[in-house]
Amino acid sequence: MTTSSLDTPVAVLNQTPVDAEYLKWAAARRRRMWRRRILPALGIGGLLALWWAVITIFEVKPFIAPSPWAVVETLYAKRAVLLDNLIPTALEAAGGFLLGNLAAIIIATIFVHNKTLQDIFFPVVLMFNAIPLVAKAPVLVLIMGNGMEPKITIAALVCFFPTLVNMVRGLESVNPQAMELMRVLSASKMEIFFRLRLLNALPYLFSALRIAASMSVIGAVVGEWVGATVGIGAMILQATFNFDSPLLYAAIVMSATLSGLFFLLVTVAERLIIRWHPEDASH
């Protein structure tokens, strides 16, 4: 008996003859992908329609909530200003996202490797997280001034805790068997971390990053309320103060779009990084 008789026939796909079975699978796959693109658009479209319907049917006054049409007009009319203000907010949110999540990942790493430190410092982090912004803001401005730094820090603080909690759990929940394997190979803690724990934590991490994508934008916007003249947060403040509800909603649409974009980036990153899962895990 030769070894090759054990081998399974595997065709690399670009050489596959185009047969009926393949076409069927490819068609199903294409359908799935289109659904994934069209349905969200449908959802957003439905939301707009609902908004419009509520405004019209209940005759909601424009100072409570403007019609989507007025918001779209404002978005178009003020596109230049809105985009100019989006840029600093996007930078702050992105900076906070990176910083906050990085810090959370690093601290989760430390916690997982040193249970004593975790037991001691987790409550400290918890308490610190519970301090509202009003108390942290003066200290931040005192230390960092009025540039982008305090806004980035606030966005980072807002992302930090959820990622920390999820990451600690992800890093801890490794398969005991895989852990034994690493131990037998005398893998260093570093190797166990990079080749086992981190990969194992990815589903938890990406879950956290999805949350953080949304939170970091909110963090940046709120951060701008600590003293800023540009940015979506400043615009929101301005618009609220002036009762300019179309502008307020336009600014909110901008920040929500930014959140959505971040979320999309995280989703795409996840799809690119986690390649080893069954294609349709949940059916």
């Binding site: 401005v141 309320w225 002036n242």
Partner: protein, 309 residues
């Protein structure tokens, strides 16, 4: 070289309330006084007093005079050295179909007010001998919508917020806090004891330049609006242009007509302190007048500030 720095920390975002400073900065008035000037914005989460008190920035401005009294009462080492508005534009707004024209009209009304401004209503009621139970207080955000939706009969706000007031329509009825007998200042400038004592010349220079700025605004309103938009492109020119006219009434009206921009009356301050003290607002200690304000800088610059006028 030895140019003095002045960072002015606001308690709110900058706008037409700071147009005098913006114009002075843009036209180089500060530079001519040997000052490097910048405005540091505040916001809902930061009033800036602690930041100035700790020496991070040189001067500050808050929205209303009680903040200064309360801060001094808690031992923060600051003093007010000038005011930006000669009367406080805080106003009770109602609609023509259910008007509140004088304090007595408040009886039986539902008044929507932010929790931090509730004390102003209490002061007003006390001054006019109206029992607190005769008025229903509804805590709201800084939002005028409840008046329009009929949830309350009266809302509060600043008469200088011209854009916001457009929402209430032309049939609006105003009752200002000032006219109702509670006389507060708005937009007070403050600095630390240390700054006031060690660098009086800088503060004086700042006052001179700022005063010049405000007078320039009065004389060149359209240009001022343009400069403001240049400094803060997010603002809407026509809104700000309309607001300038109202704001100038407050900045350069009243005592400022005779004693120059920024001037303030110690008697008004003393009555504020008394009112707040009577209402039990000083949880720490009741501050003395001389702890709250310092008239030195105003006095030293009186000539310069009135000359332009």
């Amino acid at each position: 070289q030895g140019k003095a720095k002045i960072n002015m920390q606001l308690g709110w975002i900058p706008g037409v309330n700071q147009i005098g400073e913006v114009v002075a900065k843009r036209l180089g008035f500060y530079e001519q006084e040997g000052i490097e000037f910048a405005i540091q914005p505040g916001g809902p989460n930061i009033d800036g007093v602690a930041i100035v008190a700790s020496g991070r920035y040189e001067v500050g401005q808050v929205s209303s005079s009680p903040s200064v009294m309360l801060a001094v009462s808690q031992g923060l080492p600051i003093k007010c050295f000038a005011v930006g508005a000669q009367k406080h534009p805080f106003t009770f707004f109602s609609l023509a179909k259910n008007p509140v024209k004088k304090p007595q009209d408040l009886v039986g009304k539902k008044v929507g007010i932010p929790s931090t401004a509730a004390i102003l209503l209490r002061a007003l009621l006390a001054k006019n001998k109206i029992a607190e139970k005769d008025v229903t207080v509804v805590t709201v955000g800084s939002d005028m919508a409840p008046l329009l939706t009929g949830q309350v009969d009266v809302v509060t706000g600043w008469l200088t917020s011209t854009t916001a007031l457009k929402a209430l329509g032309p049939g609006r009825v105003d009752l200002t806090l000032w006219d109702a007998g509670v006389q507060l200042y708005a937009l007070p400038y403050y600095a630390t004891h240390a700054t006031l004592e060690k660098q009086p010349k800088v503060i004086e220079a700042f006052l001179r330049a700022t005063s010049r700025g405000w007078h320039h605004v009065k004389a060149n309103r359209d240009e001022a609006a343009d400069l403001l938009i240049k400094e803060y492109p997010n603002l809407k020119r026509e809104d700000e242009r309309a607001a300038i006219d109202v704001m100038l009434e407050y900045a350069l009206g009243g005592m400022a007509q005779t004693q120059g921009w920024g001037t303030m009356d110690p008697a008004v301050w003393q009555s504020q302190i008394t009112t707040y003290s009577e209402l039990g607002q000083f949880t720490a200690k009741t501050p003395k007048l001389e702890d709250v304000i310092s008239l030195d800088a105003l006095k030293a610059t009186a000539a310069a500030r009135t000359k332009v006028a």
